[in-house]
Symmetry: C2
Subunit: 391 residues, 2 copies
């Protein structure tokens, strides 16, 4: 109960939005409790369990008492393992000293926002995009400067768009490649051009590479292949299948690491120790083979679902090449607002997807996101139900 | 290497300070690598391993695949367990719906700072105090309004001090009881008066109760015994011995929980899933018995160390009643700056402690903090070495 004497809240609270998908999750839960078979395609979380070797490593670490604070930048072994992995997997020479372990990609975004953005300063980012990005900027009193993007740019911020939208108070840009919710990526030329355009203006480029290792086609390289001056965030959640472990990392230019470490000490002390020791097993050959097989499975699902949705009349006008999402325009098949579309689809057919409003403002009411984070048979079933729903 | 073209960093970066103790930790590590026997009394981390039942619960949770995102406010079972524990341990009726699980006490501080503090607004807090508090406010462009406190107030913010220091832009106060670094606590009357004084001015009171269950003497109750309108942060790190698991919680007035949950969704998605399931075992009778025994051991160490330090000439002018720290004035025995005192003590006698500068500005150069987070025999040895050091 709010009484008149209650202190006022900070203004940012009104600007930070809840996840719309929670409404779907809640209703889906109620339906399931009532016996309805719900197909979940709303969550940005792989359906695969964490790889057995990672779980086994966690249990070993627990037996060995690895439950204490670690250095704020992460245990040296994990920073070294990530460095070795950049070398073996991506052919990149990134010293461990430039890599910091963080509590999820969220922790990396918190540090980078704190590092780079003064109050009133802005960071350009694509709309649609991952919604938390803009809220981290709001947290530090900066501005997310949303750039409406569509099929022409394959839903990505490009050098041209950057030039068009750069303002006096802009201090950088954030790009996600591949992107959530669209699965589109920048090619190497575009990535280089974007970095140059940002750099020429004295800005910082933040690259969200959380889906970097879930690319199914094309030559999509890390921005680290092009420059050592970008700020890269990544996560063990998606490709490595470690969502609930809350572990991510960032790569920064060497001269910024000490400042980031200072921020990390103060803002979260350290990342989870058991999670860090567990993650060491993510780089073992057996785990990498398993993760590669899972990636292949995601690719198969994507190919099927993309074709099926198009057949049903959904418009997917930029090919998703990575991540595990398809961002589809419903206007050709429904005049409903996307939220209403999602709610009715859930009520009538037990298929849970996410309304576009979770990813921004630009044409959000005519888009929905499908996450192919359930098995192919279930996806086929969902497609069948979608056919019934659309009549 | 910093080049002229590098983007400028946010101004807050220069204001956020590294932990001074890291300098000690680094040097202690070097000395140990060279074969020196270092006695560690610098870290705010219990020397006891995480309780076996908690570790066992974590391993069970891993076997059961509890490695996925959880609700942002925490798993319902843990919120219920905390509610039951407030009832059984503290005689307080705190519904689970008012309790949110967070990634450490740090996560709780992040949420509360984001919730309450507009740019330019201030929160009163004691100096000396836990240093991260002021940096969380700096993060959101608020101000930590440091109130110099000493033995007269037993190093605590009091209603009188609050009245004296409240400014036009003050929107609340933060109190830590018992406090890090001093171990002093507010008694019940003082706590009520402080809340009233804050409330009368339309401010919010944040109570850091991280050491609430490590009180050795006196009737120090949670602020929740006095009001349901304070904002309480707590942690599984200290009393529950789960530092590296990164798990904490907060208690808020019911009407604020939804806003806090929205912030949590955006700022960290969820707390570590394995850590949350592990923490359920913290409330089992066997674990509680173990934790009570450990608390008793901390009490024994405190009594010994307090007497020993006073005998050596350290001035500890406000009785520490909780936590695992003694904040001692060195001026009677040394004219060195506290940092220099700590460095020399480490070099010459292999005893690592923390300089006062880690906790604020007020008389920091003449204070050091001893953490009694090592065994009694080791503490006795440290006292012997201190005697040699002081000659």
């Amino acid at each position: 109960m709010i009484s008149e004497n209650d202190p006022e809240l900070a203004e940012r609270v009104a600007d930070i939005e809840p996840f719309r998908v929670v409404e779907m999750l809640t209703r889906a839960g109620e339906l399931q409790a009532a016996g309805v078979d719900v197909i979940h395609m709303e969550a940005g979380e792989p359906d695969f369990p964490t790889a057995p070797a990672i779980v086994a490593a966690a249990k070993r670490a627990l037996d060995e008492g690895r439950t204490r604070y670690t250095p704020a930048a992460g245990i040296p072994e994990l920073r070294e393992a990530l460095s070795a992995w950049y070398r073996s997997q991506h052919g990149l020479d990134i010293p461990a000293s430039r890599i910091m372990v963080t509590p999820g990609g969220s922790g990396a975004l918190l540090l980078l926002s704190a590092l780079l953005v003064n109050p009133g300063k802005g960071i350009l980012m694509a709309d649609p995009g991952y919604p938390c990005n803009r809220h981290f900027l709001r947290l530090v009193e900066g501005q997310a400067q949303l750039v409406p993007v569509g099929p022409v740019e394959r839903y990505q911020l490009t050098a041209e768009k950057l030039a068009e939208h750069w303002r006096d108070n802009t201090v950088g840009a954030l790009v996600a490649s591949p992107s959530n919710p669209t699965g589109t990526a920048l090619d190497n030329t575009q990535m280089r051009e974007l970095f140059e355009a940002c750099n020429q203006r004295g800005g910082s480029l933040i690259a969200d590479e959380i889906y970097q290792d879930l690319v199914f086609e094309g030559d999509v390289r890390s921005i680290l292949a092009h420059t050592d001056r970008a700020l890269v965030m990544n996560s063990f959640s998606k490709y490595f299948g470690m969502t609930g472990w809350r572990l991510g990392w960032l790569v920064a230019p060497q001269h910024l690491v000490q400042e980031l470490e200072k921020l990390a000490q103060n803002l979260f002390i350290s990342s989870s120790a058991p999670s860090q020791y567990a993650a060491l097993a993510a780089f073992e050959p057996a785990t990498q083979a398993l993760l590669a097989a899972r990636k292949k499975e995601f690719g198969t699902r994507r190919t099927y679902l993309l074709q099926a949705l198009r057949s049903l009349g959904f418009k997917v006008d930029a090919q998703p090449v990575g991540a595990f999402y398809i961002y589809a325009n419903i206007r050709g098949i429904s005049q409903l607002d996307a939220r209403e579309f999602c709610l009715r689809l859930l009520e009538e057919q037990g298929v849970a997807i996410t309304p576009g409003a979770d990813f921004g403002d630009h044409l959000a009411s005519e888009h929905v996101r499908f996450a192919f984070t359930t098995s192919l048979p279930r996806i086929e079933q969902a497609v069948h139900r979608l056919g019934l729903f659309l009549g």
